[in-house]
């Protein structure tokens, strides 16, 4: 991201970067950077906190005021609220334990509620509806896999279906609001759902199989810290 700042500034645009990794900003010396102490994936602080998001944006733009001595790196010292989550948070429903397809069906009503709550869904890059995305992965290695719709190679469809499955479950998990941390949500998804287990097994099979395209995507399916924990537990 800091590299883009150099290129855009060279083209004649005044840039400010909201930097999440301070060390990278120090190394790459973008003209103006505001380091924010937020989690990766949340450069503007917190969801549904327009005040904090606006303060970050104002602080970034303020780097354009006054003397322009570059590189400029300023720290934003306000913390995001609820960064440690909510110890009382629980998944707001009952998961059907009879299999991953049944589990996905039990998640669907909550996901619909979340869709209404947030006014949108971030699911959709695979082009599959949520239950179909789960079934696509569940049957991927079967002798008769689910037909792959035109427009995307099966391995890429699988890659994006897995992201859609995660979005499906996590959006459903937030259907009743609350302030779970990302770690709480990840703990629940990878440790408490059959879908998480299915993705982990898919990753293991991708790694150990002889399909080089599957091997290429295997590393970006499960967070590395989780993969290591699973492997340690299995050993």
């Amino acid at each position: 991201m800091s590299g883009l700042a150099h290129y855009l500034e060279n083209e004649g645009l005044a840039t400010v970067i909201v930097a999440l990794i301070r060390e990278h900003a120090v190394q790459m010396r973008p003209p103006r950077a505001l380091w924010v102490p937020f989690e990766l994936g949340r450069p503007f602080g917190a969801a549904n906190d327009a005040g904090l998001q606006g303060r970050v944006l104002r602080a970034a733009l303020a780097l354009l005021d006054g003397e322009q001595a570059t590189p400029m790196l300023v720290d934003f010292d306000e913390q995001a609220p609820f960064a440690d989550g909510d110890p009382d948070w629980r998944f707001p429903g009952e998961l059907d334990g009879s299999g991953v397809i049944a589990e996905a069906a039990s998640v669907l009503p909550l996901w619909r509620r979340a869709h209404q709550r947030f006014g949108r869904t971030t699911l959709g890059i695979s082009g599959l509806e949520p239950p179909a995305a789960v079934e696509f992965i569940h049957r991927f290695h079967d002798p008769e896999p689910m037909p792959n719709p035109k427009g995307m190679a099966p391995v890429m469809r699988a890659r994006f279906a897995i992201d859609d499955i995660k979005a499906f479950y996590l959006e459903a998990a937030m259907a009743e609001g609350g302030h779970p941390s990302s770690r709480q949500l990840q703990d629940w998804f990878w440790g408490g759902t059959q879908a998480g287990q299915m993705i982990r097994q898919f990753q293991q099979r991708a790694r150990s199989g002889d399909d080089n395209n599957l091997k290429l995507i295997a590393g970006s399916l499960v967070p590395a810290e989780r993969t290591i924990a699973f492997l340690s537990a299995d050993a």
């Binding site: 790459m28 989690e39 733009l61 949108r120 890059i125 890659r159």
Partner: protein
């Protein structure tokens, strides 16, 4: 969270040891005065518009997100497992604060929020992105943009 020390291993070491290219100090552009700032956001979340082909790892192109695209049609195709999605899932503005930018325009803090924002694929070598970044920059200038807020994930 978000200090390097708070990021779990092995991601922390990967991030800490990332071989960042070296850049000479760039001579800064003289910024427009606040009321004349025409501001676009550039994200590295790999944003696409629903129905578009997802961006791929190490892809060196970019996408445009115009103001008539609904929040619900902006998807994140960056597939790294290293960053949180749950904030974005609840509120687009955590990653792409276009509503906040529009507020700053209404409040007179900036002159104008751009009609088009831009997305690149993160975790791509910035050297590979140079040509497309410069092209995007020229596209912004042609639209009257003079200020860019860069937002990583």
């Amino acid at each position: 969270m978000a200090r390097l020390a708070d990021i779990p291993e092995p991601e922390r070491s990967v991030i800490a040891e990332l071989d960042c290219p070296a850049y000479a100090d760039t001579v800064p552009v003289e910024p427009a005065v606040p009321g004349e700032r025409h501001v676009a956001i550039v994200s590295t979340a790999g944003f696409i518009v629903r129905g578009e082909r997802p961006m791929l790892a190490n892809e060196n192109g970019y996408r445009r997100i115009s103001s008539d695209v609904a929040d619900g049609d902006i998807l994140c195709s960056h597939v790294s497992t290293n960053f949180d999605r749950s904030g974005f899932q609840q509120d687009l503005n955590v990653m792409l604060p276009r509503a906040r930018l529009a507020e700053l325009e209404r409040q007179g803090v900036i002159g104008k929020a751009a009609d088009t924002h831009y997305a690149f694929m993160g975790a791509t070598s910035p050297v590979k992105l140079e040509d497309s970044a410069r092209e995007a920059g020229r596209s912004m200038l042609a639209l009257g943009v003079n200020t860019v807020v860069l937002a990583p994930v």
